[in-house]
Symmetry: none
Subunit: 454 residues, 2 copies
Amino acid sequence: MSGRDAAIAYAHQNRDRFLEEYKALLRIPSISTLPEHAGDVRKTAEWLAEQLRAVGLPKVEIMPTGGHPAVYAESAAVPGKPVVLVYGHYDVQPVDPLHEWVSPPFEPEIRGDYIHARGASDMKGQILAQIKAVEALAQQGGLPVTLKYLIEGEEEIGSKHLGAFIDAHREQLACDFVLNCDSGIHRADVPAIVYALRGLAYFELEVRGPKKDLHSGLFGGSVHNPAQVLCELIAGMHDAQGRVTLPGFYDKVRPLDDEERAELARLPLTDDEWKVIAGARELWGEAGYSVLERIGARPTLEVNGMLSGFTGEGSKTVLPAKAMAKLSMRLVADQDEAEIHGQLCRYLEAHAPKTVEWELRELTHGRGAIMDRHSHYMQAALNALETVYGSKPVFKREGGSVPVVGMMQQKLKADSIMLGFALPDDGIHGPNERQYLPKFFKGIDTYIHFMTSL
Amino acid sequence: MSGRDAAIAYAHQNRDRFLEEYKALLRIPSISTLPEHAGDVRKTAEWLAEQLRAVGLPKVEIMPTGGHPAVYAESAAVPGKPVVLVYGHYDVQPVDPLHEWVSPPFEPEIRGDYIHARGASDMKGQILAQIKAVEALAQQGGLPVTLKYLIEGEEEIGSKHLGAFIDAHREQLACDFVLNCDSGIHRADVPAIVYALRGLAYFELEVRGPKKDLHSGLFGGSVHNPAQVLCELIAGMHDAQGRVTLPGFYDKVRPLDDEERAELARLPLTDDEWKVIAGARELWGEAGYSVLERIGARPTLEVNGMLSGFTGEGSKTVLPAKAMAKLSMRLVADQDEAEIHGQLCRYLEAHAPKTVEWELRELTHGRGAIMDRHSHYMQAALNALETVYGSKPVFKREGGSVPVVGMMQQKLKADSIMLGFALPDDGIHGPNERQYLPKFFKGIDTYIHFMTSL
């Protein structure tokens, strides 16, 4: 029996114990955004550190950051094999609305094939599955690669100290690639692997007209209405083809080649299906691109919020003093958030009339990323998924942002392999978060296959 | 000493008490648009009724309407003199943004020569000044005209039950003309008298995109953002010359003749002065018209409010399901609000994309009006103003709406004499509304002069 087969057999034999450990991990309410749970967050870090020690890793540490601590671990070096940095997070989202939970969020309950608890899918199940795969390998012949672990406690609050932490420990974290377990497979029957993520540049724009709110009858028609100006500015940010008009916005966007377009077209998703998922009347977007290309490979600009004047019930005849919009761009790999900021400023300088003042504030940003689909590591991930799920995975570009992926590319020059197993209907961030248990156990098998294929 | 002089002397002797009564009236938060203030609105009606009884009017009633009640009163008939229907309103606008008020809106505070409170200028000060003039005349020889009062509680919500009320009490309200105290003098040193008012058509427009809020990363670029669509629709409602683009919008607008333009040009108001009053960086408006023509003789379209998506602190990556705007048009005489409603619908039908649904609700409307500048009553008003202010008043068209003026023309066949004393920088409808106290006292004198000149 090969080391791989022995590890898989071991994993299957120990499922009951793994499940009990999974439950124990889910019972600790590691809500990172609530100060009253800081002790629980730390307790979770210690629980994971203990697991990694039990696996036999020679170096396991709980390391301070500017906020919640990070769990770091390192295996003995395996000569001739890649160094893999396993990334995950052990913190979870808050649980409100609490009354919508069928069972209490930190008392894991199995109903049918699902385990229900906060963090079951995002992402205690996934990081534990990876550790259990390592345990199985360690018990049945030893590790096939050099492993490092970075499990942070602040992902649900924007990973705000992670960048500085990586900067301060660049050598220690050096690796050939990152195994990112905080991701999904999209559909259990046709798993997809994400190889590109969009970045984000999020701004608040305020347009200021008269010093104070005016009577729209007494002054209307003689003073430029800042809500109207804001509308004109926003309206001008897209052209009739749905393209963003900021100067230079597409300059750094990597064009899609025919091979990649063909690969994206393999994803089993029709426009009609997407329309139903989105709850939209009609689809919309940049001319010349499919839905999956639009959300995965093209940068976009959205109005996330807008506020001006009187918005209560009934009528108030006010000419508002100011108008605000939250605007964000989803960026693709190679677009730089600072350059985008500059483009937005130049657009506003060119188009805002002298009748108003404007102020632009950047609220948050993160890099997009794209990984090499043809790398040895990516092929190993594909093979592992195909073996465990029984169908050939497809490549997918993701519209959302996982800032840590861009950060790893920028700071560690390391691509990420996204090999988590969340599904869109796991209910992450909402009430009754759940994990389909067969998927948890398949996840362990997948990680064993992956690590033994490198 | 003539009755007029005695009344003026009485008014001057009683200024301190009048000021205390003014404060008492300002303390009642009669916000007609907010259901939780319905009791305060009624209390204000009762307070005014009590004042009118104290003046000695033989008939004072609080009369039900379909909404907030109206205060009606009647003096004994004075043979050979005109019957004057005094019109005013006792309700006020909401107070938001509350945090911008220096002193609480319903705790009147005197700072320098100004009293600050919601309703100080619009129009509790003005209706009280008229009643105090009547008190002075009644105390010093008796009333020189037959008086009727109609003080409504729904002016700030579009006088929505006033039309039906007037229809139901047409004989009771019969008069030679209406003395409308809900108006301004434009500048204290060169008072102006308003002979034309704009009408109003106020709408709420909702644009609906996806069924619920979406994640802007997962869906951005594939679904039309309803906030963006709303911006595009609003941006298209004006052309580059500041003209409103609704189809047929200017068809019924009466052009200004040379004589009227010359009369309007006599008003001592420079663009720079208007800029200061408005607190604007630059003026703006329809090409080819002066500021006074823009606000008095030309219809306009304003955004009064706008709301969509996430508007709190920080960032939320949402693609909103809907976007709302409050839009209103100021109309000039002869424009019909139902036709304007139709024009807005036709504009939306022509320009809204199929990716969204839209719904337009009319919230309130009122007719514009224009009065004969050469009538006997108009001349008496001019003389009273000239006597009290020491300079010859000029004629003015008003940008605001007093729908009741058009309604009185339509239903009672009575012109209105606009003899209020608000100034453009009183801050009505906004935070820190104020009244210049010397103007309040001069207002009492003006009403005494006017009533004794008829």
